[in-house]
């Protein structure tokens, strides 16, 4: 079974590598990183923060574009071009298909993140060579940890894309749903904190329905902001080992739950 899963994952990865959009995303991220190198010089003191912000943001943006557009299209293509029938006519279970596809997408994402991480490190390195006196607080270890955080976020988002692709009829709908989950996942923490502070300061209790809705969103939608370690990387602030382990575990658990649900839904789906 593992061999079958690996073979299909590799096939998905190769198919993704052939997509020209990938090169476009890569070029775009490189341009943002180059822009960062120029913009760093406009700041007063915390140049390492600005260099780190620009390069990590370019990496994240590239990863998001890849996941929401390229990976989403890769999944839809199988059904649109009816290649899924070739796969499913072989001894592949539908659950295996979902897991293989996800692993293929993650191989592609890992390769892209690796390349972007090399470029981002080079971007920060260049700024360091130009302004070494302003990099005292910078820690490359935390910078790499922030890249790991972004990778975890993309792993969860890829699982979200696979989940929606398992039942939606078009790539556009998958994109729409996944983007909505991404936005809610990024903002839910801020919104909950804001509303709780408001409720405390105004002494007007939050409506029960609003509180219930927020709680549902908090537990159902993955909190993607927990994987964001860019501020820590920008200021060289230490991150505890327990936090890194917890977000890794949280990311993995979210992926497994989403893939399980996607497999179950996909098993019952009528194709054709």
């Amino acid at each position: 079974m593992m061999q079958r899963i690996w073979a299909l994952a590799l096939l998905t990865f190769k198919e993704g590598m052939r997509d020209r959009a990938l090169y476009g995303i890569f070029l775009f991220s490189l341009m943002v990183m180059a822009l960062g190198f120029v913009v760093v010089g406009f700041f007063m003191r915390e140049l390492s923060k600005v260099a780190s912000d620009f390069n990590l943001s370019a990496l994240t943006f590239g990863g998001l574009l890849l996941t929401l557009f390229v990976n989403n299209q890769l999944l839809a293509k199988d059904i649109d071009k009816r290649t899924i029938y070739i796969v499913l006519s072989r001894p592949y279970g539908r659950g295996e298909y979902i897991v293989s596809k996800y692993l293929g997408l993650m191989l592609l994402t890992s390769a892209a993140i690796f390349m972007l991480a090399v470029c981002a490190s080079a971007g920060v390195g260049l700024s360091y060579l130009r302004y070494p006196a302003y990099f005292e607080s910078f820690s490359f270890k935390i910078f790499l940890l922030a890249i790991f955080g972004e990778f975890l976020m993309l792993a969860v988002l890829n699982a979200v894309v696979v989940f929606f692709a398992s039942f939606s009829s078009s790539a556009f709908l998958t994109l729409l749903f996944s983007t909505a989950v991404y936005i809610v996942g990024e903002t839910i923490e801020t919104v909950v904190r804001f509303l709780k502070t408001q409720a405390q300061s105004t002494e007007v209790p939050m409506a029960a329905a609003v509180e219930a809705l927020l709680n549902v969103c908090r537990y159902i939608i993955p909190n993607l902001s927990v994987f964001d370690l860019k501020v820590q990387a920008a200021h060289g602030m230490a991150v505890s080992l327990s936090y890194v382990l917890f977000i890794t575990f949280y990311g993995m658990a979210s992926v497994l739950v989403l893939l399980f649900l996607a497999s179950q839904i996909f098993k019952g789906r009528e194709l054709g």
């Binding site: 990590l56 990024e186 903002t187």
Partner: protein
Amino acid sequence: MKSLAVSIVAFSFLVLAYMGAWQGVHRDREKILSDPMMDYTLPSKVTGPMSLRFKGLASDFLFLKTTTFIGEQLIRSGNLEDAHGEYIFESVDAISDLDPHFWDPYYLSFMILSWELDDFERARILMEKAMAHREKDWRPPYYIGFGCYYFKGDNECAAEYMGRAALMADAPSHVVLLGSRFQITARPHRAALLFLKQMLLDTRDTITRMHLEKRILVLERLDLLEGAVRRFHAEYQRLPETLHELTEKGILDAIPEDPYGGEFYILENGRVFTSSALRDGP
């Protein structure tokens, strides 16, 4: 051949139309940009969720926008008004909500609000915020301490904050010295000089450096004049009636000029100040 010629003519016409439109738009845009209207900063309650995963980048962009705006105002009129102070305060408040550890905005707001706009109270609010988020940084309490001393004349507050700054692991040795000097010195210009020289070390921005260097020059001249007044007092057992008496008695060769265009004058207690209040004239 004919179709190629038509295509070339059509393309040339389109390019010309584009260039005309570009010129028109940018000429009118210049008018809008040169209008001394106040820029608007979206509150962090909006910018925070809107910037999703890119809060650090959003804070960089907002800060760049704020410094550009201030730089343009300073180049255009040489002075900032209270409305600019409001804008700077709100901008830095929003930027520091996006990234509370970002030092540059705190630094800029302190410099502009306290030195340019004589609004230490608001500068202090932002520095207190910096202190809350940069717990191991000696600079926020150091800046508040200095502000208490120089802008408020509150030595007790200055000593308290300088004491806190001196306790930080990476605080330079002069912070401890400065803290104790606040308790005993009667030479605030000298203390301000030390402070501004530290600020100069802390910045690379050309406009900021230009302003700091000018201010340091005036403070050096004020300190020189106060030193001369003290020598005069030691020699003649009285204070000079005007600063020109210092040159008449040969204590100074000449009274230096105030680069801000003001005139140096002596108070009854021997302190020397300038009529420019360290600001460019209207």
